[in-house]
């Protein structure tokens, strides 16, 4: 009865058309450097004032899911990730495009994003209360280890030297220390600049590190400015059934991990994608292929980051605690629409909650045709000669960075990080760990300081709670296992 009512609320022309329109809007914003899923959500809020509750939430859910996927498009086509969550597998996706396998890469990103989102929604439907209970058991100790694991993954999965990845991480963490946003509330490294007090806007930094650096390389290496081969985006779904059959474990593991990490308030798609990519590499039969244009990591991390988007709704709906910035905005919309999130909403308005679940499923299904159209359009980008494309990308980056801060400060940050990113790439220092350091630095600091204060400086307290102990042991094993393996290999080589 409730299910029928809920279906009746969703399957109306108004809701379907709203979802298609907001999906197209989310795709546009997600694919533009500098524009994020959070921005798409925020821009939709004033429009939702005039809508009924179900189409209002449908618009936001569809736009957010679509924007997260759309971040993969510039990553695969231009090596410019739209979101930090896409940065984990940008290298693989781009190399696949360069080697003529754009259809396989983009198809995998689209299909496994949708699958991750759907599986995450199924978990949301079936196990919200139980997962929310687990999520609420996470204190600063558990979050600290989770962040350490995320940062460790960035070091060990980046191609090339681990020491250079550490240097990249140092750059990102150093940038994360700038500003007022620290447990002591003291301005750090702001040099008296008012804009710096809010810290380094990481989206502007990311645009600089990836996109600007790419434009600078194009300026330096004019030989690369030939007309690129048009990305073959025909039959993007053709190989995906093969991928599902070859990598079912990766798909399920990525979706499950993404949902669980997404359900942790404040964690989210970025950590989920990185940890999933690292796990995929760790358990792969062909770890050497990662970073060279291999689809396996795309499948696991791509499923994971979209599952995390669904997972973030678990604490939001069950307890009214936002899992990420998007759900924080949506909770406000839910209140405006009279759906007060929390345990009572499941009792008082079950038809609305089930309607919401159907909206999640539908949003991920709509992603397939809309994503297909976006890939077709995006594929044409590569047929534009690079010396025409790069200047326009640079101006898009400038505007995107400006839009983040609504001031030229964003442009200065982008330019500074563009120079840093260019220098790093020219020295074979990977960029991705710097992004993760910048994103996770504040979370690392907050949880470390809070834990130290709680434990009165006793480091053993980081292992006293069962979940924290398990995560801590895993994080330490992450660092020790490669060392132990190297020592054993050396001994073995010495013995022979």
């Amino acid at each position: 009865m409730v299910l029928t009512q809920a279906l009746g609320l969703v399957l109306t022309p108004q809701v379907i058309l709203t979802m298609i329109a907001s999906g197209a809007f989310g795709l546009f914003l997600g694919a533009m450097p500098g524009l994020t899923a959070t921005m798409a959500t925020a821009l939709l809020v004033p429009i939702t004032f005039f809508m009924e509750p179900v189409p209002a939430i449908a618009a936001i859910v569809t736009a957010a899911a679509m924007a997260i996927f759309a971040g993969d498009l510039p990553a695969a086509l231009l090596r410019i990730p739209g979101t930090p969550a896409s940065a984990a597998y940008t290298e693989d996706a781009w190399r696949m495009t360069r080697s003529g396998r754009a259809a396989d890469a983009l198809g995998a990103l689209l299909v496994f994003s949708a699958i991750g989102g759907i599986l995450g929604t199924l978990v949301l439907i079936l196990a919200s209360p139980a997962l929310a209970e687990v999520a609420l058991k996470f204190s600063s100790f558990e979050y600290f280890w989770l962040v350490v694991m995320g940062l460790s993954c960035a070091i060990f999965v980046s191609p090339g030297s681990a020491l250079k990845s550490m240097l990249s991480l140092v750059v990102g963490l150093t940038a994360a220390t700038v500003g007022f946003d620290n447990p002591a509330g003291q301005p750090r490294f702001t040099f008296g600049n008012v804009d710096m007090m809010a810290g380094i806007p990481f989206i502007c930094a990311m645009i600089g590190l990836f996109a600007n650096a790419e434009v600078f390389r194009a300026i330096i290496h004019p030989t690369r400015l030939t007309r690129a081969e048009r990305a073959d985006t025909s039959r993007i779904f053709a190989r995906q059934w093969h991928n599902i059959r070859c990598y079912p474990r990766q798909m399920l593991r990525g979706s499950a991990l993404g949902t669980v990490i997404g359900a942790l308030p404040g964690a989210g798609a970025d950590i989920a994608a990185w940890i999933s990519y690292a796990i995929s590499k760790r358990f792969s039969r062909t770890p050497g292929k990662f970073g060279t244009g291999h689809v396996e990591g795309l499948i696991e991390a791509g499923s994971s980051n979209n599952a995390a988007v669904s997972g973030a709704w678990i604490p939001a709906l069950v307890f009214g605690i936002p899992g990420d910035s998007i759900t924080a905005i949506v909770i406000g919309v839910l209140y405006i629409k009279g759906m007060n999130p929390g345990p009572t909403v499941f009792l008082m308005q079950p038809q609305l909650i089930y309607a919401l679940f159907f909206v999640f499923l539908l949003a991920n299904l709509i992603m397939l045709p809309l994503g297909w159209a976006a890939i077709k359009l995006g594929g044409r980008l590569l047929s534009v000669p690079q010396n025409y494309l790069m200047p326009v990308i640079m101006l898009s980056c400038i505007v995107g960075s400006f839009a983040i801060t609504n001031s030229l400060f964003g442009v200065w940050v982008m330019l500074a990080f563009g120079v840093i990113g260019f220098a790093m790439e020219e020295c074979d220092v990977p960029i991705a760990p710097a992004i993760l350091g910048l994103v996770l630095g504040p979370m690392l600091e907050k949880n470390f300081i809070t834990s130290m204060i709680k434990a009165d400086g006793n480091l053993l307290a980081f292992f006293e709670r069962p979940i924290a102990a398990a995560l801590g042991v895993m994080a330490i094993a992450f660092w020790l296992l490669p060392l132990i393996r190297a020592i054993l290999n050396r001994r073995k080589a010495g013995a022979t």
């Binding site: 991480l169 200047p391 130290m452």
Partner: protein, 168 residues
């Protein structure tokens, strides 16, 4: 683990990276001296910068040790792909590219977005070998299209033309 062979440019580059890492660490240590702890606690604004400093210095030292222990590359190894470093023209192109973006940051509040944006796109296009007329057309079209998308649709307050006496 076998040490990679390093030729002279690569060795110099990695020594430079190690030194940069140590310098970042030293700068963080020096810069965080003035930060205090949270009242009544042993930890505060200086804790994370100091931990990062230790990580940076440790990484730098490890990089230097790795470079010094690495065997020399056999003769004929052409070195890293950054051969452009010895080309003054490449430096000139990079300098002009940077100057165009710097110019946007410095002058867009006076000239407005469309003129400054046109300058960036047309300038970069010319720098990358596009002929004059197509470069101008590309600059005009992309500046107007992006202004429309961001300022008119997304309501981003892009810089507007503001000249003395125009009231803007």
């Amino acid at each position: 683990m076998s040490q990679p062979h390093l030729n002279r440019p690569r060795r110099a580059r990695d020594i430079g990276l190690g030194a940069v890492s140590i310098l970042i660490g030293a700068a963080l240590l020096l810069g965080s001296r003035g930060f205090g702890a949270i009242p009544g606690q042993n930890y505060g604004a200086d804790t994370l910068p100091r931990l990062i400093a230790l990580l940076a210095i440790g990484t730098g030292i490890a990089m230097l040790i790795q470079v010094l222990r690495a065997p020399a590359a056999p003769p004929g190894d052409s070195g890293p792909s950054t051969g452009w470093i010895h080309e003054p023209r490449a430096w000139g192109r990079l300098g002009i590219g940077l100057a165009l973006v710097l110019g946007y940051a410095l002058f867009s509040e006076t000239t407005g977005f469309v003129i400054a944006g046109f300058g960036v796109v047309a300038g970069l296009a010319l720098l990358m070998g596009v002929r004059v007329l197509p470069a101008i057309a590309l600059g005009i079209v992309s500046a107007i299209a992006l202004r429309y998308a961001f300022a008119d649709i997304l309501l981003v307050p892009l810089p507007r033309l503001s000249l003395p006496g125009t009231g803007g």
